[in-house]
C-alpha cells in the first residue's frame, strides 16, 4: 500500500475497531519508512475523531466507542514505543486524573488517547486521586496542564478543591487547569476558576493546544 492508502486504512481500523489490522498498518509503515507520527495524526487520529462524531450523533453505541478507543490506545502505545526520539514533537505535558471518590474513567481514557495522538504528552495517574496527590505529581512531572475528570455531581467539588489548594499554595499560576466529566459545565469551570472546560475528547485537545500556546 502507498502512503495515502495506509493512512486511509489506518483511519478505518479505528472506525472498525480492528486491532490486528491496525498493527499491520503500523508494521508496513515502518517497513516503508513512513513517519509514524504523521500516520497517527492523519490516519488513526482522524478515525478516532470520526468515531467520536458518530457516537455523539447516536450512530454508534457506547461499546463500539470503547472498542475503538481500545484499539486507539494500543496504536498509541506501539507508536510511542517506536518513536522514542520523537519526543521533541511533543507539544506540552498534561497530567490527568479522575478525582477522589470517583471511579469513572471511560471518558478520561478517550481524552488521553486523543491528546496523545495529537502529540501531547499525557500522564494519566488513574482514578480516585486526592487533590494532594494530583498536585504532588504535577510538581514532580513538571506538567503544563492539570486536567481533572469527575462523573458524579457529588465528586465535582474536588475540582474546586484543586483550584483552591493551588491558590493557597501560591502555585496556581504555574499551571493551566482543565475540567471535564458529565456533570461538569463551562459555567462550573468559570465559577471555580478553571482555565478551560471541554465537552468531549476532541474539544479537550483543541483547548489543551490553545492553553499550551500561552
Amino acid at each position: 500500500m502507498d502512503k495515502a492508502e495506509l493512512i486511509k486504512t489506518a483511519h478505518n481500523t479505528i472506525v472498525e475497531a480492528d486491532e490486528e489490522r491496525a498493527i499491520h498498518v503500523i508494521d508496513e509503515a515502518v517497513e516503508q519508512g513512513i513517519d509514524l507520527l504523521e500516520l497517527l495524526r492523519e490516519g488513526f487520529a482522524e478515525g478516532n475523531r470520526e468515531v467520536g462524531g458518530l457516537f455523539e450523533s447516536g450512530n454508534l453505541c457506547l461499546p463500539e466507542l470503547i472498542f475503538s478507543t481500545e484499539v486507539m490506545k494500543k496504536v498509541i502505545e506501539i507508536v510511542e514505543g517506536r518513536t522514542g526520539e520523537g519526543k521533541e514533537k511533543v507539544k506540552g505535558k498534561v497530567l490527568i486524573a479522575t478525582v477522589d471518590g470517583d471511579v469513572h474513567d471511560i471518558g478520561k481514557g478517550i481524552v488521553v488517547s486523543t491528546m496523545k495522538s495529537y502529540g501531547i504528552d499525557v500522564i494519566d495517574i488513574g482514578r480516585e486521586v486526592p487533590v494532594e496527590t494530583i498536585i504532588e505529581k504535577a510538581e514532580a512531572y513538571g506538567v503544563d496542564i492539570i486536567g481533572t475528570s469527575a462523573l458524579l455531581t457529588s465528586t465535582l467539588k474536588e475540582q474546586k478543591k484543586l483550584e483552591d489548594t493551588l491558590r493557597k499554595m501560591g502555585i496556581r499560576d504555574k499551571y493551566k487547569t482543565m475540567v471535564g466529566g458529565a456533570p461538569c459545565t463551562s459555567r462550573w469551570a468559570n465559577r471555580i476558576g478553571a482555565d478551560a472546560y471541554s465537552e468531549d475528547a476532541v474539544e479537550a485537545v483543541k483547548k489543551a493546544l490553545e492553553l499550551l500556546k500561552k
Binding site: C61, P63, V103, T153, S154, T155
Partner: protein
C-alpha cells in the same frame, strides 16, 4: 417532556394531562401487595381488646413512596396509598439527592422533612378515610434503599456518593414516632429495617423476606427492576447481591416521550403485519410511553428488523431495500436525535416516536442490569442454564412483559415459564416485619448473611456492562 418540578403543569386537569408525576399511582400498586402463602403474623396484641390498633408499613422508593395501613386487631390490610416521592424535585437519582443534602444542614433537613411530610400526608388521608385518629396507629415499619434510609433519618449520606460507597450506619434503627415527627401515637415504635451494604438497602431485605429466596431450592435470581436495579442471586441458602444503578429510563425518564405509568401512557406495543398495535393505560388518547411500553416497543422493533443488535434504528432507505413492510418503512424518518420510528401518528400534536437516543438509554439501563447479573453469576461460579427461577419485583417489574424482557436481553435467556412476578416485594417485606417478630429477626439475620458485590469496583463489570449493551441476536423471520 418530563416534568421535573413538584408542581402541576397540566392546569389541574388530571384526567386530560396524563403526564403528571403527581398522579396517584395507588391503583396499580394496590394489586401488587399480597403477603406470601403460609406467612403467619406473630405479634402479640397488647392493651384493651376493644382498643383500635393500627400499624403502617412504609416503602420509600426513590420514585414512589407507598404506605400500607394494617388493622392490628385482626392483621388485615386496610388500604394503601402510593405517592410520588417529593424529594424528586431535587433529583431523580440517589446521587443527585445526596449531593443536594450535602450542600448544607438546611438542605439535609429539607430532604428529611419531605419524606416525613409525605408520610404524614398519607397518615392524614388514612385518618380521614377510615375515621382513625393518628394516635391509634401504634407501630410502623420502614424499608427503602440505603440513601432513602439515611435521608429519612436525617443522617449524612455523603459517604454513599463516593467510592467505596459505604453507609454511615449499620443495623436496624428504632425510633419513637415523636422523635421523627411522624403523626401517629408519639410513643409508637418506628422500625427501619437494616440495610445490606453499599446501596443495597432495607428494601432488598424486604424482598428477601417476601420472596423467601433464601429457602428456595436451586439457583434463583430476584431483581427489583427500578431506578436502582438491585439484584439478588441465591443458591441453597447462599446469597449475593448488587445494585446496578440502572437509571430511571424504565420509569420513563430521559426518554423523549417517556412518562410514568399513568393515564395516557402506552403500556403495550405489538408490531404485526406492518401495523403497530398499542394499549394505553385507561384506554384513552396516548400522550407518551411508559417503561413497560418502551420495553415492548424495543422488543418488537428488534423482531421487525427496525433495530439491529447494536441498537441502530434502520433508515427508511435501508428498510425499503431490505423489504420491510411499506407501512413500517413509512414510519421511519430522521429526527433531531437520530433516526426515529413513529409509534402513533397524531394530527394535532407531536407524533409519538421512539428515537435513536431512547434506544441508547434502554441499552444503558438494561446493560447495567444484565451486567450485574453476569457478575453475580461469575462470583458464584454458576451460569444461567442452572437458573430455576427469576423473580421480578417492584411495580415496574410487575408490568414488564416477560417475553419482551427476554428479547431485549434484560434477563438471561431462560424459559419464560421460569419467570415470576412477585409484586411489590419490598413493601410486602415491610408488612411482614410489621406483623411478625420472627420476620424482623430474620431480616436482621439475612441482612448480614447476604454477600455484597460492589460493581463499581469489580474489575470485570465494565467489560460485562459494555457487552450487555448489545441486544441479543436472534434468528428472525423476515418482517
Amino acid at each position: 417532556m418530563i416534568i421535573k418540578s413538584g408542581k402541576c403543569v397540566g392546569g389541574g386537569k388530571c384526567e386530560e394531562c396524563g403526564k403528571c408525576n403527581l398522579y396517584n399511582t395507588t391503583t396499580r400498586k394496590k394489586k401488587l401487595t399480597y403477603l406470601p402463602e403460609g406467612f403467619a403474623p406473630d405479634v402479640e396484641v397488647t392493651g384493651e381488646p376493644d382498643q383500635k390498633r393500627y400499624g403502617i408499613a412504609f416503602d420509600i422508593g426513590t420514585t414512589t413512596v407507598v404506605g400500607m395501613l394494617w388493622n392490628l386487631n385482626n392483621n388485615t390490610l386496610v388500604d394503601m396509598i402510593a405517592k410520588t416521592n417529593p424529594q424528586s424535585q431535587f433529583g431523580a437519582d440517589v446521587i443527585s439527592r445526596i449531593t443536594y443534602s450535602m450542600e448544607s444542614t438546611k438542605h439535609q433537613k429539607t430532604m428529611q422533612d419531605k419524606i416525613i411530610g409525605c408520610f404524614n400526608e398519607m397518615i392524614r388521608e388514612f385518618d380521614d378515610q377510615y375515621q382513625i385518629s393518628g394516635q391509634e396507629i401504634r407501630k410502623a415499619t420502614v424499608v427503602g434503599n440505603t440513601t432513602m434510609g439515611h435521608l429519612f433519618l436525617g443522617i449524612d449520606a455523603s459517604s454513599l456518593a463516593r467510592a467505596p460507597f459505604d453507609p454511615a450506619y449499620t443495623g436496624p434503627v428504632q425510633k419513637r414516632a415523636a422523635e421523627l415527627d411522624i403523626k401517629i401515637d408519639p410513643d409508637a415504635e418506628v422500625y427501619l429495617l437494616p440495610n445490606i451494604a453499599g446501596h443495597v438497602g432495607s428494601d432488598i431485605v424486604g424482598v428477601l423476606l417476601a420472596s423467601g429466596i433464601k429457602k428456595q431450592p436451586g439457583l434463583q435470581l430476584a431483581i427489583d427492576v427500578g431506578t436502582n436495579g438491585e439484584i439478588v442471586l441465591a443458591r441453597d441458602g447462599r446469597m449475593l447481591t448488587c445494585s446496578t444503578a440502572a437509571g430511571p429510563a424504565f420509569e420513563g425518564a430521559r426518554i423523549y416521550q417517556g412518562m410514568r405509568a399513568a393515564r395516557g401512557s402506552i403500556e403495550r406495543v405489538r408490531i404485526e403485519n406492518g401495523e403497530v398495535v398499542i394499549e394505553v393505560i385507561e384506554d384513552c388518547e396516548p400522550v407518551g410511553i411508559c417503561g413497560s411500553g418502551l420495553i415492548d416497543a424495543v422488543a418488537q422493533m428488534l423482531d421487525a428488523g427496525i433495530i439491529n443488535f447494536k441498537g441502530n434504528i434502520i433508515s427508511a432507505e435501508d428498510a425499503s431495500s431490505k423489504g420491510l413492510h411499506p407501512e413500517l418503512v413509512a414510519r421511519l424518518r430522521k429526527g433531531d436525535n437520530g433516526n426515529e420510528f413513529v409509534l402513533v401518528w397524531k394530527s394535532r400534536s407531536e407524533d409519538i416516536v421512539i428515537n435513536q437516543k431512547d434506544i441508547r438509554e434502554v441499552q444503558l439501563a438494561k446493560g447495567a442490569i444484565y451486567g450485574g447479573i453476569t457478575i453475580l453469576m461469575q462470583c458464584m461460579g454458576v451460569d444461567s442454564s442452572m437458573l430455576e427461577k427469576i423473580l421480578l419485583a417492584g411495580a415496574f417489574g410487575s408490568y414488564i412483559s416477560k417475553k419482551s424482557a427476554l428479547r431485549i436481553g434484560l434477563l438471561p435467556m431462560i424459559d419464560e415459564g421460569k419467570i415470576e412476578h412477585i409484586g411489590n416485594a419490598a413493601g410486602v417485606g415491610a408488612c411482614m416485619a410489621l406483623l411478625s417478630k420472627q420476620e424482623r429477626e430474620e431480616a436482621v439475620k439475612q441482612s448480614v448473611e447476604v454477600e455484597h458485590v460492589e460493581l463499581a469496583l469489580h474489575p470485570n463489570f465494565e467489560r460485562e456492562y459494555l457487552y450487555a449493551m448489545y441486544f441479543p441476536k436472534e434468528n428472525l423471520k423476515q418482517a
